[in-house]
């Protein structure tokens, strides 16, 4: 596949580029973040933090550079993606800075700012260098191989908090599993785009369920085994759930067969049940979810989940206000896995709803790009990346709020965690590229400003 030639005359009607909208939204996002930063300082020390200008300038600069990259290299990209990412990242920095005030000896915000810068740098690199997403299709098998390596390496490193998901080198730790998400999404999208028909219309029918042939089923079973393997070997329930959810969604989108979902859910249930009963680390998470207050009754004090629920409850409708909560009581993971509890306590249900809406918008925009794209790989990749975001948010937010068992995972853009921030910036970069391709005027085609309906069975 090659990029289409751009020699055709400009079409009479074009989609507006909306770069101005993006810029003004970015200004708003930076201002909101700066305001939050100042509010934290005012609440905590009765003074605006001295480095508020530096913070605002830094964030503004990152946003501006990213915007320029989009303006010049992806002019038709969706104008909401970048502002949402900047706002979430800025808000995350505010929340981490706010928690740093409680732990002066252990600050995380400066590091997080460096990682954010690195994330934006990667974003720019991807936007500048990846001129057409279809290039990625060629690297499908390379991607899956790299993903496997990235996921297997941490097994040889010591576990942290019960999970073997870290690589430590020279005081620097990072979670390779985060990058594996993107690589797997690329592989799934490419593999399914190539094998859609085989998966959908082959094999024997057993009790109304059309089974695919073994040749196609093989890789799928392999992926399932991989997910469970990650779960067992690395005790990383969250990543395992994410891979599996991603795979089931993409399989459904590619084939349209609900049977796959049934099979997927069944396999997931079996896997989860077996591991949940056998593996003590996962088992305790499930127990804690079923009764978050068991440790209190046992006289051991509240568990992290109970502390998290207390924080959310304290927030109520409007929150305590930035800098006025006590979410630091959650303990060691307050800045990472439980960052949402600080948002819940200090911004209340109102603020939390806003945060969820930002994620929902981002996911919706990703899906929208998928709907508008014409090539199956692009469609699947957009759906996959958007689903990764949605699943991450659901798994970790549901976990810290007692909806599902708690799994260690970073809230995209908000949570402390360098690998996570960089990965999510790359995801946004890919979505920018995809939405640019989706909205850009198509050479040769009748350009009416309306996306031509695609026949359901168009292959």
């Amino acid at each position: 596949m090659t990029a289409p030639t751009v020699d055709s005359p400009p079409p009479p009607l074009r989609l507006p580029k909306r770069r101005g909208v993006e810029l003004s939204l970015l200004v708003g996002a930076v201002l909101i973040s700066v305001y939050g930063y100042a509010a934290v300082g005012l609440a905590h020390d009765d003074a605006v933090p001295p480095d508020v200008a530096r913070y605002g300038g830094g964030l503004g600069l990152l946003a501006l550079v990213a915007h320029l990259a989009v303006r010049f290299r992806a002019p038709y990209a969706d104008p909401l993606l970048l502002p949402i990412a900047v706002l979430l990242n800025g808000l995350g920095l505010v929340l981490i800075y706010r928690l740093d005030l409680e732990t002066p000896s252990d600050t995380a915000a400066p590091t997080q700012l460096i990682w954010s810068t690195l994330g934006v740098a990667f974003f720019i690199v991807v936007v500048l260098l990846l001129r057409d997403h279809r290039v990625l299709q060629r690297y499908a098998y390379l991607s899956v191989a790299a993903a496997l390596v990235l996921m297997i390496v941490p097994i040889f490193f010591p576990a942290v908090n019960g999970a073997r998901i870290w690589i430590r080198a020279g005081g620097f730790s990072f979670q390779p599993g985060e990058f594996a998400k993107i690589l797997l999404a690329v592989f799934f999208a490419a593999y399914l785009a190539a094998n859609r028909n085989a998966l959908a219309y082959s094999g024997r029918t057993v009790w109304k369920l059309q089974l695919p042939t073994g040749r196609v089923l093989g890789p799928i079973v392999a992926i399932w085994l991989l997910s469970v393997g990650v779960l067992v070997l690395e005790r990383d329930l969250g990543t395992s759930l994410l891979f599996f959810g991603l795979f089931v969604i993409l399989l459904y989108v590619a084939t349209g067969r609900l049977g796959w979902i049934a099979v997927g859910l069944l396999l997931a249930a079996v896997g989860a049940f077996v591991v949940g009963s056998v593996e003590p680390h996962v088992h305790s998470r499930v127990e804690d979810w079923l009764d978050p207050f068991a440790t209190i009754d046992a006289g051991q004090g509240p568990s992290q989940l109970a502390q998290s629920l207390f924080a959310f409850a304290e927030g109520g409708m409007l929150g305590t206000g930035l800098g006025l909560g006590h979410s630091i009581l959650i303990g060691f993971a307050a800045k990472s896995d439980f960052i949402l509890a600080t948002a819940g306590e200090e911004l209340g249900l109102a603020g939390l709803t806003a945060v969820f809406m930002l994620y929902a918008l981002m996911v919706a925009r990703g899906y929208r790009a998928g709907l508008a794209l014409r090539d199956p790989f692009g469609q699947l990749l957009a759906v996959g990346l958007a689903s990764i975001l949605a699943l991450q948010v659901f798994v970790i937010a549901g976990g810290v709020m007692g909806l599902i068992p708690l799994t260690g995972m970073a809230m995209p853009f908000l949570a402390q965690g360098g690998s996570s921030v960089v990965t999510n910036w790359i995801i946004v970069a890919l979505l920018i590229r995809l939405s640019d391709q989706a909205r850009a005027p198509r050479p040769g085609g009748p350009e009416t400003g309306v996306i031509a309906p695609i026949a359901e069975d168009e292959q």
């Binding site: 590619a254 349209g256 959310f312 819940g344 249900l349 996911v363 709907l371 469609q379 659901f394």
Partner: protein, 492 residues
Amino acid sequence: MIRYIRRAAAFCLLLLAALLVNAARVQVFEADELTGNSANRRNTIARYDQPRGNILVRTGGGDATATVTGSKDTGEQLAWERTYLHGPLYAPVTGYASQTYGTTLIENAEDGILSGTDSLLAPLPLWNDLTRGRQPGGNVVTTVRSAMQRAAYQGLAGRKGAVAALEPSTGKILALVSSPSYDPEQLSGTGSAVTDAWARLNASDSRPMLNRAIRQTYPPGSAFKIVTAAAALDAGVVDDPDEETDTPSPYVLPGTSTVLPNESSGCEKASLAEAIRVSCNTVMAHLGVEVGLHGMVEAAERFGFNDDGLRIPSGVAKSNFDTEMSDDQLAQSSIGQFDTTATPLQMAMVAAAVANDGEIAHPHLVDRTVKHDGDTVSQTSTRSYRRAMSPSAAVQLRRMMVDVVENGTGTNAAIDGVTVGGKTGTAQHGVDNTGAPYAWFISWAQSAGSATPEVAVAVVVEDAAADRADISGGGSAAPIARAVMEAALGQE
């Protein structure tokens, strides 16, 4: 594929919607339950986020007050810690307010006022509920008078014992001292210093954290004879206190061969007045048997014995007078032995009943509570607790008690120019009475210019030097009572 993408998008939207619903569940519908969870430290943090209101005592005879507590900001998570200006002196009144161990006594009973959560402090009804806020802590003004408290504490001088003093007409507790005492400030805050102090205080043989004035009962010994005398007068067993009784000396306990001796001479067929003056066991035991079990139980309960619901506002330990006994046990109980036990406060109420014409005003420790800016929140009014005896019996007992101080076992309590009535007592304790005996003195005082007695006192002190003689009550306890009464009457 478009259709499937839309469905997948709907699924992701459903996930986010589930998160929103769940957020509403946790943050709105279950919020109160979670906020109220005892393991949720936020309530504690908020509680110590502002200085605690103070506990005040009265200085001098007028309305002047002075605080005996304070607060200091430590900058820790539970920021404001309680300080005490005269910790050991007022510990039986204030109790402690500890980040680690909670609160006791007034710190506990008036915690809502002191910590600012009491709805009475709020500018509008339901204000605190709506704003989830707290007001600045209010102050508690006690009835205690600093001069009397100090006199009692110095009088005990570290010996094991307690003093309770009342204003008979109002029930105001003027002094409440327990010795040996402790400094509640050691328990303020968190950390190893606090837990070590707690462990040390609880392990100490002298039990400094025990509030002996209201939480410990002792056999009252001969001091209980006032109750027996009141019962005999009101039951008509004795019409004229100066008339001889038909009591042999020694007296053989009914139904047994046990002989009850007297510590003093001249008790054979002694009158009630004489028996009180020199503290005759035989006469009083005999009178108790003549009044009968039912009459004695009723009389004791009119004074407050067997009441486990007395609050001042902290709970007072139940003083005991058995309700089922044989006559020999009744005889012993009637002279404050056997199972009869009393708190020092209870015995102060006995003296106060005599001083207040037989009426016991409800004892209380909190005079009023005020907002931090001085507006009164609540004021404790005088109310009757019980009528212990008829006014005529009280008049006769006052005369007899004055006789004790002027000519009997209680001469050590006499104050020049003041009418003082008293009664001594000695109580054995420990296995086979091996413990050092407790010396009792209960008394009241009325200065020349006053229509009624202004103060009633009960003192109990462990006195290793005391022999079995009742004189010991007059020997070691009476001077303390005198010092407290002098402080009450302004004769310091």
